[in-house]
Symmetry: C2
Subunit: 666 residues, 2 copies
């Protein structure tokens, strides 16, 4: 530990304090306590180059304790990222690159959006999976072109959240040796000392998960931190947790108190802190020249690492042209040319099949064409049909395996899927029953916020689940997922729409939810039904009214499209011309031109929507004159068809309502 080290650590501390003071908002306590561990990690170990924040083989660093954002911004600034002091001075202000919590895609060098605790922890696990997998697939003897660590700083709060348990247990099972987490153990959370709610023996708990646990008794002891991180890096069979006993608000009058956690120290205490740490007390956003010089040196080291990697890649490319081309396509986030040719088309004479089964067929048909496809289920693979045939399970002995066994851990699955997508080189998917997406919801929200290209396969998408009953039957889930901005929710009506749904999920940016049936559905004839063009528009005329202009339009999604088709038959026999429209994605449909929407849903004909979920939110489609048939209650345990019948989702009920709509119009 040199004077320069101390100066650097205190610069990180004071830049953090100054950001929070200037903004009159933020969390000074965590940066004051955690600056030493962050500094040692960034200065001595982290392989990165601010000139190319997206350099594929950089180490990943996640500040899972995202409320300590000021510390991360201070690090990014000092270590040469495109984050000038002016941005630090605009901490938490409109349009700044220094938002209240780190935002991926918004701030250069931020690897993941954090703030909701526990998820940064779990996203890192996904990143480490991605690294291990790509390394296993593409490295060759003498050519280790994928070889980096995933680091995080995690807090008491992270470790209280269930996500940390799920992800840590999974990481232990998978033996992710290149995962190195620093636990900022400051024993203080918002309500006060962690003893109030959190007396567990964290080290013992992580040992139970199969982690290596290392301890640093004094969070200001830089050599001890350095030695522990070194030991963590040397353990390649197990993930490592370095427990660093730190002091929240270190050096401030509010040290070791919850008062330093989530609000500015205040001018007086900020000055006192500077005094205590030997800082010029009137300086603000002060970066001593020695600190700049020291950090510039570290930046040069990073640049050399990247250059070495570039050279290594050239050698690799020359020696192994085929795998290197594949790897580079993957790392660029591109899909291999011609992959869409692998998408199957289903024929009606293949017989009815559940959209979950069609999804399984599509996934397996695509798996050879798109090696980046990788994922798994939260212990429901046989039901969600998400197993890639012929591939082993991803594990420490088979890191090349593409099937992930997430266990009954939906939230960690969602976050790990995000982490894999953020890492790059992987097109990840995660699967469970639609009703259990509730467990993963915080990760779905972050997927949408970050725009990760991730696919969430949610099967058993309605009361059609049947016997398992209301705990397993989603009713509010389609609406509640559609409510998340930027989350693409697709509910295909047959096997061919399912293929199109996968196509859209993989082609377009951002996350996608596929809502798929448990029960079998007939397959549309793609010669007769414009599935390919129609699906892209979110809604389309699936089946025109027989014998003239439609008197009524029946709109369905997923399995209820078939109920609507049957209702059309009944109405036809009553001399009523009904059109059937499939709306696999209501948001995309509503975003079409008004002309198109009026073409599909002519204002002259009343519109009736049927979807086996809550009716709220469909009024935008049907208007005042239309009506919605849905399920505004919880389901019930009985064979699926009976539940549909008892809850009024039948062709007869639709036909009756359609006829009465028409009568009312006259």
């Amino acid at each position: 530990m040199t004077d320069a080290d101390t100066l650097c650590v205190n610069t990180l501390r004071m830049l953090s304090v100054d950001q929070v003071e200037r903004a009159k908002s933020g969390h000074p306590g965590m940066p004051l306590g955690a600056a030493p561990m962050a500094y040692v990690l960034w200065d001595r170990f982290l392989k990165h180059d601010p000139a190319d924040p997206a350099w594929p083989d950089r180490d990943r660093f996640i500040l899972s304790a995202g409320h300590g954002s000021a510390l991360l911004y201070a690090l990014l600034h000092l270590y040469g990222y495109d984050l000038p002091l002016e941005e630090l001075k605009r901490f938490r202000q409109w349009g700044s690159r220094t938002p209240g919590h780190p935002e991926y895609g918004h701030v250069p060098g931020v690897e993941a959006t954090t703030g909701p605790l526990g998820q940064g922890f779990a996203m890192g696990v996904g990143m480490a999976i991605a690294e291990a997998h790509l390394a296993a697939l593409y490295n060759r003897p003498g050519h280790r072109v994928v070889d980096h660590f995933t680091y995080a700083i995690v807090s008491d709060g992270d470790l209280m959240e269930g996500a940390s348990h799920e992800a840590a247990s999974l990481a232990g099972t998978l033996g992710l040796g290149k995962l190195v987490y620093l636990y900022d153990a400051n024993r203080i959370s918002i309500e006060g000392p962690t003893d109030l709610a959190f007396t567990e023996d964290v080290g013992r708990r992580f040992e139970a998960y199969g982690w290596q646990v290392l301890r640093v008794e004094d969070g200001n002891d830089l050599p001890a931190i350095e030695s522990a991180i070194g030991a963590a890096r040397n353990e390649r069979r197990r993930p490592s947790l370095v427990i660093v006993q730190s002091h929240i608000g270190f050096g401030s009058p509010k040290q070791d108190s919850a008062a330093s956690h989530g609000e500015p120290l205040g001018a007086e205490a900020a000055r006192a802190t500077k005094r205590a740490l030997g800082w010029p007390e009137d300086a603000s956003f002060h970066v001593p020249g020695e600190v700049s010089a020291h950090c510039r040196e570290s930046v040069r080291t990073g640049a050399r690492s990247r250059e070495a990697w570039r050279v290594a890649m050239e050698a690799y490319r020359a020696a192994f042209p085929a795998p290197s081309a594949k790897l580079e396509t993957r790392l660029a986030g591109k899909l291999p040319d011609g992959w869409e040719a692998a998408l199957p088309t289903f024929r009606p004479d293949q017989g009815a099949q559940a959209t979950r089964s069609a999804s399984g067929a599509v996934l397996n048909a695509l798996s050879a064409a798109i090696p980046a496809l990788m994922g798994g289920s939260a212990d429901l693979a046989p039901s969600t049909k998400t197993l890639l045939k012929g591939s082993p399970d991803f594990s420490s002995s088979h890191p090349e395996g593409r099937n992930l066994r997430f266990g009954v851990r939906e939230l960690a699955m969602g976050a790990a899927v995000n982490g894999m997508a953020l890492h790059g080189g992987i097109l990840p998917y995660g699967a469970t029953f639609l009703v259990f997406c509730d467990f993963a919801r915080p990760a779905l929200r972050l997927a949408a916020l970050m725009g990760t290209r991730a696919v969430f396969v949610f099967t058993h998408d309605s009361i059609g689940v049947g016997e398992d009953g209301p705990t397993h039957q989603p009713v509010e889930h389609l609406l509640s997922l559609r409510a998340i901005p930027g989350l693409r929710v697709l509910r295909p009506a047959d096997a061919n729409e399912t293929a199109q749904a996968w196509r859209m999920a993989l082609r377009e940016p951002g996350p996608t939810v596929l809502a798929l049936t448990r029960q079998n559905l007939p397959v549309f004839d793609t010669d007769a039904v414009p599935v390919f063009s129609g699906f892209q528009r979110g809604g389309y005329v699936l089946c025109e009214a027989e014998g003239g202009a439609p008197q009524v339009v029946l709109v369905g999604t997923g399995s209820e499209v078939h109920t609507a088709l049957a209702a059309r038959g009944i109405l036809g026999r009553q001399g009523i011309c009904a059109r059937v429209v499939s709306v696999p994605c209501v948001e995309i449909f509503l975003a079409q031109s008004e002309a198109y929407r009026r073409e599909v849903l002519p204002p002259s004909a009343p519109c009736l929507v049927v979807e086996a979920g809550v009716t709220r939110g469909w009024r935008e489609v049907v208007g005042d004159r239309g009506c919605v048939i849905g399920v505004d209650r919880f389901g019930a345990s009985a064979p699926g068809e009976e539940v549909f019948r008892h809850l009024g989702i039948t062709a007869e009920a639709i036909a009756e309502r359609a006829a009465s709509l028409l009568a009312a119009k006259k």
Copy 2:
């Protein structure tokens, strides 16, 4: 272990197998493996009386592994609950009392709805909190009228879920010694051996949480199970986990295989199982006479326990009339007479205040009048304002404390709150930021499904959160909560509406969400504004159009009511008469008579809704001619007022849109 014991265990097994076979659906594996531990618990320890399933001092038993419902129904049948064999024969059929997963309120003797894994575990923790608290408050020397255990059978899947970590860590901290969980460690989950995803050392993990961990190596060893449960009961300072190594599908050809988990054995394998266990292979739903006789004896023991308690209560009532009256009121789920008089009325001259602050004031004003009020926050008490002043924190040294410190564990909090409500005697609440209700969502769904009287206090309810940014700013949450059937979502617009919201939450059955502001809001004058009557109807005219019939109606919720009021002023200056309507609960408003709704929202005037959340779902209120101003994107980090301004939630924007609506009408 006697012949009768073996016969009873096998009866439980075969009744389970027969239910699943008859239904052609269900989970036979768990009951075959776990029947011995369930039998020992029910036969030797469980204090209950089928003649009064709601007897307050009964032991609680939760089948957290709810997919093993057939086993629970077999237990309930054998031990004399109102669940005849005919109901077992109607397993998983419409209208039966034997749904696919145990449903509270639907099946006598079922203490909690289970199926979504991990939550039964966490609800039990809430029950144990309730027991310890009531015992501390009301027991007297020589009068232990509250004195029971909370038991559960938990599975591998339960322990993988994050909820189990959160709840177990909390239970360890709280030293809940009367919590006894049996872990059915059968090493098989749906995808196969648990080694695929779950290699942690569960015992070591629970020791790290501060639990006593006991082990039974052979799940068929009844004396070993009995001895372990005995040891668990004897440890009163720590919760206990009894790890029972069992065999899924025991005795069947599919033993120790995932194939026995989630589908019927099939006729052939069912016969083979019966043969293997010495059962008449052609018998179905067979209960040997010795078994009936044995269980009847156990029922008599239960009846004697209840009678002893009744006698004890009489003595207690005579010796301690005041506390016994209080306890009985609480156990009956009644509120003390006159509690509503304690509800504060706020005056405008008290100054603007955030609805979270008003909520804190209401809660504290009610706490003396309603001793059953008890709850806490997920490490956000200073922000959610949910601390009861003058009460200690609930802990093993202060079990009489009414403030719970849940830690950063929203899901366990939600489930524990449900568990406290299910236990009875407690009116529980749990608090966090609205955006983090996502973590608790699976528990909110179960609250609605079970109809627990629980209050969820969700503050920081919009982009008004400001600097913390989009990770902390809810936008989709109001809609996604309203989507849950049976969940009452209230968004009061000022301190007085907040008091009414609490009043409704405590008076009415079922769970309530209170969405409350971070930022200050003016207080309505209750002499001028019909808050009391209006709130009950979900929506009401808050401020009539000045100078005649309204030309336009501005509808707001929560903080946006004030934005609408300001817009009304602007419009007034332009000569446009605008009425302002507050809609604290859109579902209650939509359930009012059409006449009332037309009175509030006259069809003659276009309607404009403003709410700082996604706009979807408001079309039901505004109709085709109206419009909705909301936030159909994620928020951003900046001071709250700036975020409102940049995202168009301002009085000026509302006035402009209202004027253009009017112009379009003309």
